[in-house]
Amino acid sequence: MLSNLVINYEEAVAIVLFGIGFTTLLFQRNLVRKLIGMNIMDTGTFLFLASMGFINGRKAPIVVNGVQDTAAYINPIPASLVLTGIVVSVSVTAIMLSLTVRLYHRYHTLQLDDIYVLSKHQTEDR
């Protein structure tokens, strides 16, 4: 069992990263730290996908010297999935940062608990 972890150390690290990111996103009270956690979580997934998609000794799927055997190349799809995932992650981070800025302008703190208490005192009840 443990030897499997050593052989697949990249995947093991990826899952550990995912766990770190997940708990950071869930339990940190500071908004910016939460966002960093989210990015670590996504990066863990990308590492997992990228390392699973790579096979030792094979080349990028570009035909050189006329070698057309598929066994010589790796599948490009996992890499493209990672790229798609990165794009999604970037846009989500951008939106969350802009929300953070807006909250900071209004409440002058980044602690989610404090913001929650402050917002309760507002009388925006419609």
């Binding site: 995912f18 997940f22 989210m38 997934t45 939106i95 209004r106």
Partner: protein, 498 residues
């Protein structure tokens, strides 16, 4: 026009709404609204054609994008169930946009109204893509687009509470998306495919050789938790009242009745088409969903009873209704899945009606949503009072309304399930939840119909409000009165699913 041309329509619904997004950004706000409404009507016509086509031919069809055959490329698949769900989603979307347009003008800064319609169009594209797609990674991408747009339509009402609600909503959703992505990646690693049909073949092979069972169960479990968080199943439901309650009414209606349902539909589709429903029924995930669903039904109703604000009450009752749907999936069997899918439609119709009527009741009560100020509001605004009562009765489960039919289907499914414990648990939870529903909705109805002394009377003359509410109420009655017809359609769709 030949029939085969209809097979292009599912793709058109996605692409047209996707391109309408940037277009609405360039249009003036009035034009953006007309364009959005016109587009939704067009999409409804297209989806109706797809529904008619799949029902008459009796089989589903797959649209292969770029004509790359199965293991490669990307596919869209349309059957009766997808078409039916898409049709209900679009009708509810159209009604919400028209019915809440007055509040869109009030709540949103004038220069940003066209942006709201941009978001609505992008959201329609994401909803349609998630309903039609046959590719699990496309599902993930549009799931993120749906998350971003739902955050967008939440924060357009620029008050502190919505921003905070949006941040909390996004944090829960990001946890969900991260888990969903990891689950998809695990399943991809095990099967080597992203299209649902080849994935199911691979998984069937692995199951017969009992290889990689751990990875499949893990992947599916992680993916399930992700989508449960995103749709707001019981322990993850606490963000609902702030999110739905403070948003502009259209956003509240769309988020509660469409967005959360869309995640459930995607999950259901993955169970049916990726894992295979026979395999899924052997996994323990089903029982966990059943238990969480049952707990959600009761917990959501209890929270709703304790709310002092009508919007919070309606939002918490969403948590209970999401519990019903997961309970249906948890009971299993053809009847259970039919009941779950029927409740997706019934709840979408009912909840959007409630979210579109509460702001009108509050308008005639000095702009307050608190129960004590709402006294007599149903008399002051008769139309809103009637629509609210119809939706409330449907929520409680009074016969002839949609809510009754879905509860009946759930009970049938429980009896059919063949397990005594399951049946007893479901029956008790159904009875308890219905009773609690009745308590808080009837209490609200008594409150809004109590005579007041102000003597103000408002009659909703605005056609733009009446038409969508009539559409929603008619849908509610149709689902209630002809439930056997819709249940038959869902069953036909399920048989095409496998």
């Amino acid at each position: 026009m030949t029939n085969s041309f209809i097979t292009n329509f599912p793709l058109f619904t996605i692409v047209l709404s996707l391109f309408s997004g940037p277009l609405c950004y360039m249009l003036k706000r009035r034009m953006a609204r007309y364009w959005t409404i016109g587009l939704e009507c067009g999409l409804i016509a297209m989806v109706s054609a797809v529904l008619w086509y799949t029902m008459t031919t009796g089989s589903s069809f797959t649209y292969v994008m770029g004509e790359f055959p199965a293991p490669w490329g990307n596919e869209i698949r349309a059957g009766v169930l997808e078409a039916l769900i898409a049709l209900v989603f679009l009708l509810v979307m159209l009604s919400s946009v028209i019915g809440g347009s007055k509040y869109i003008d009030i709540d949103i800064d004038e220069s940003k109204i066209n942006l709201y319609y941009t978001l609505i169009n992008l959201m329609t594209a994401a909803l349609m893509a998630m309903v039609w797609t046959n590719d699990i990674f496309t599902g993930y991408v549009f799931l993120e687009i749906l998350t971003l747009t739902s955050c967008g339509i939440l924060i357009v009402r620029e008050i502190g509470r919505t921003t905070l609600a949006a941040v909390r909503y996004m944090i829960m959703n990001l946890l969900g998306s991260g888990l969903f992505l990891l689950g998809v990646v695990l399943l991809y690693d095990v099967t080597g495919n992203l299209l649902m049909v080849p994935m199911q073949e691979e998984i069937a092979k692995l199951i017969t050789n009992s290889q990689n069972m751990m990875a499949i169960t893990m992947g599916l479990g992680i993916l399930t938790i992700g989508l449960c968080i995103k749709s707001g199943l019981f322990p993850f439901h606490y963000w609902m009242p702030d999110t739905y309650g403070w948003a502009t009414p259209t956003s509240g209606a769309v988020l509660s009745s469409l967005v959360s349902k869309c995640y459930i539909f995607l999950l259901f589709k993955i169970y049916y088409r990726v894992i295979g429903i026979e395999v899924f029924e052997q996994l323990p995930i089903r029982n966990i969903l059943l238990v969480l669903g049952l707990m959600g039904m009761v917990a959501g109703s209890v929270s709703a009873m304790r709310a002092n604000n009508i919007n919070r009450m309606v939002a918490f009752s969403s948590a209970a209704q999401i519990g019903y749907i997961y309970m249906g999936i948890g009971i299993g069997g053809k009847v259970g899945y039919t009941a779950a899918m029927f409740h997706v439609m019934a709840h979408a119709v009912t909840k959007s009606t409630l979210f579109l009527t509460t702001p009108r009741l509050s308008d005639v009560s000095g702009g307050s949503l608190l129960f004590r100020n709402l006294q007599g509001s149903g008399i002051r605004d008769r139309a809103a009072g009637v629509y609210f009562s119809v939706a409330s009765l449907s929520m409680i489960g009074i016969p002839i309304f949609a809510g009754f039919s879905s509860k009946l289907l759930f009970a049938e499914a429980a009896v059919d399930s063949g397990s005594m414990t399951k049946m007893v648990l479901v029956m008790i939870a159904l009875a308890l939840s219905s009773m609690l529903n009745a308590i808080y909705f009837i209490r609200t109805m008594i409150r809004i119909y109590q005579p007041d002394t102000t003597g103000i009377r408002v009659s909703a003359k605005r056609v733009s409000y009446q038409i969508p509410m009539i559409i929603l109420t008619v849908m509610n009655l149709a689902l209630g009165l002809f439930s056997w017809y819709f249940a038959g359609m869902i069953e036909q769709g399920l048989s095409m699913f496998g």
